[in-house]
Symmetry: C2
Subunit: 198 residues, 2 copies
């Protein structure tokens, strides 16, 4: 079966609806998904941005929040803006990366729902521990692995791989032949490509 990589960042607003709908879209096309959490911070910093571009450029931020509202309305997803925005997604990304595939997808959806559906602070250790527990996992054990030197190094390597692939934002779908499809609104196109329907 064809494989597509789903690259996402927990601080990224458009990664929220994408994460909530990508699994069903992939399954419908017979595409296996690899969930790859990463951090956009280093990529943005390389462009000279020390904050979300949605904060640096307020008009862009206003557009994005209204656009996200429309998208969530259409999908029937709740939307509550977390404060501050963006949330630091480091701990969530480390925890997600420390899980195997199925648990990673499930936990990641829980993080996005908490962050953008309920406005909860996912930068807080207590939030992440609570979500791990909800997922039926042992928070202490998972966070222990999440914060191991090996896992920290793995997350940095994922970031380097994202740059190498040419990823410039999140979410992105990357196909086996190296095509990148950026944006929640490109999931269908990227998965069609992955499935060989071009």
């Amino acid at each position: 079966m064809p494989i597509a990589e789903f690259w996402y960042e927990f601080a990224s607003t458009y990664s929220y609806p994408a994460a909530m709908r990508v699994a069903a879209l992939a399954e419908a096309r017979g595409v296996v998904l690899a969930w790859r959490p990463f951090l956009l911070g280093p990529i943005f910093a390389a462009q000279g941005w020390r904050d979300s571009p949605f904060n640096i450029y307020p008009a862009k931020g206003r557009y994005m929040w209204r656009d996200l509202e429309r998208i969530c309305d259409t999908l029937g997803l709740p939307l509550k803006r977390p404060e501050p925005f963006p949330q630091n997604g480091l701990l969530a990304a480390r925890a997600a990366l420390a899980l195997d595939d199925d648990r990673r997808a499930d936990f990641s959806r829980k993080v996005f729902s908490a962050e953008f559906g309920e406005g909860l602070p996912i930068a807080d250790r207590a939030t992440i521990a609570g979500l791990l527990a909800q997922a039926g996992l042992d928070p202490r054990e998972v966070l222990g692995r999440a914060e191991s030197d090996a896992n920290k190094a793995l997350l940095r390597a994922e970031g380097a791989r994202a740059v190498e692939l040419g990823i410039i934002g999140a979410p992105c779908l990357v196909t086996e032949d190296g095509e990148i499809f950026w944006g929640n609104d490109r999931l269908e196109q990227g998965l069609d490509w992955a499935a060989g329907r071009r």
Copy 2:
């Protein structure tokens, strides 16, 4: 019939496929289109950009050109990158604005096809005059009106209106209730909204 405004900039790559397909999409939904050429330069300058963000951020530029290639392939549109990029779209925008609605749409598509389909320099007066002639218009007469003080002021006013609406890029569809849909990939969604199908 519902009206939607199609805001576009001749220097904008994604405005090319959008301009080539928006009329048929609008007609299929019973939406009347108002073609509104404007200049992104002042909007970008307000964000501190003196060049296209696709040049300022090379990774973003690489992504965009590949993405545009895929889009044009799918639509059966030729694609040839104009040099330099971006082209200065001032004269084209002034000329388009000086035309009535039907002629504006037809001329605008001709400009985009020349620029991104053939890679022609639309910043050159000779190119624009040739395209006006191809459209069955008198280049001298149209360029005279295009460069009148009144028309120049009108184009500036259009730019101010774009900022007021919250437009941050091109192309955009703006509905009668003030919703903005940014991007070639949002034409369907914006026109559905305009037609009352939310």
